[in-house]
Symmetry: C2
Subunit: 209 residues, 2 copies
Amino acid sequence: MTNQSVTTGKTRRPEARPTEILGAALELFAEKGFSATRMDDVAARAGLSKAGVYLYFRDKTALLKALVEEMAGANVAVARGIVEAHQGPVSPLIATILGFLAGQLRHTRFAELVKIIISESRAHPDVGRLYLDSVIGQGLPLFEGLIRRGIASGEFRAVDAPFAARAMMGPMLLAVIWKTVFEPIGAEPLDIEGFAAQHADIFLKGIQS
Amino acid sequence: MTNQSVTTGKTRRPEARPTEILGAALELFAEKGFSATRMDDVAARAGLSKAGVYLYFRDKTALLKALVEEMAGANVAVARGIVEAHQGPVSPLIATILGFLAGQLRHTRFAELVKIIISESRAHPDVGRLYLDSVIGQGLPLFEGLIRRGIASGEFRAVDAPFAARAMMGPMLLAVIWKTVFEPIGAEPLDIEGFAAQHADIFLKGIQS
DNA sequence: ACCCGTTATGACTAACCAGTCAGTAACAAC
DNA sequence: GTTGTTACTGACTGGTTAGTCATAACGGGT
């Protein structure tokens, strides 16, 4: 509307900046890790100067927080919607969720982001807490509820719901670490979707009544 | 034999140094993380000067490598011994191994070390590779073999052994991350042994034929 | 044509820390 | 004692980089 000027380097496009900067940051964080990424790099890839980045984000950490909020927020909302809308036996839903998660790990930067949070949470506890509150604190109760539903309906035997929910997520975390830590240094690639399917199969048989 | 002088600060004790330095390093790495630990800190806690540390270890990385070799080497050897000596049905052995691992996570710095390897493997790929070769590369085949044994004897159904072995370890990795990443920033503590037991129960029922 | 607020930048600073090196203290041998 | 060797240290260097600031370009409004 307002600004139809050329897309050349030096033009100013205030509204587009934050998105561009976050895009650049996400790419670089995923490629090189958080601490190895210099603010100059982010700026360069976003097409402005380092000082320019600081017009839109207070901190290097603010970049990471924004990325976590963005990705986490979206995913949790989707998951909550699916879970709450679902009727009938929960087993297929659990399998679906695990498959969906596997797809997310393959096709988005979700895995890399989780790995960064794990690596940086000692140096940046607020980021860790943000993830703990907005992803784990939302997601785990959702899964616990699902398992409780299954127990109540007689579909599952009486396992400990918090433990079971964590056991359900464990292998997905392993997939994250495998992909982001060990594949880059030479481990043979893991077929995440196949793995998730096999895990769902074992897990569901394991809690079936 | 040779050196019976006083144990005062400035005396020289060449034989004891490496152990003392590694001990200090392990404590500090576990407390503050690898990059946040300064060589001066390690030196101070070990009771000598920073330059002194460099008489015994080439690098900061060399400290980490030595720690990984030490802890990993020991654990894998034990596991291999137990697995190879075992006769009869493998289910109880798998439960035992998971319980043993849970104990190790609670009572040693194993979890912290794993977390550090995960965090630092981008900046120090040789450490990552060392762990990949000496722990994962040794441990996983061991568990895969166990599962194959169970399948062959009719104890387990025909699951994919590599996937199943990873599904078996996934929740233990989650315990590592929970303890070292989220508990320090305020997550409620996880009863690792209870969790491991519940997981073993689910997992074994899940692969039973 | 000229403002003037907004958007942008180059150049700088301040802090941090792994790793080095020239030199010192302790001990052993004689 | 004196000398040679080993164990050790204080003080320094060099490289790195997040965040700042004074100054410049832009462009819409009049």
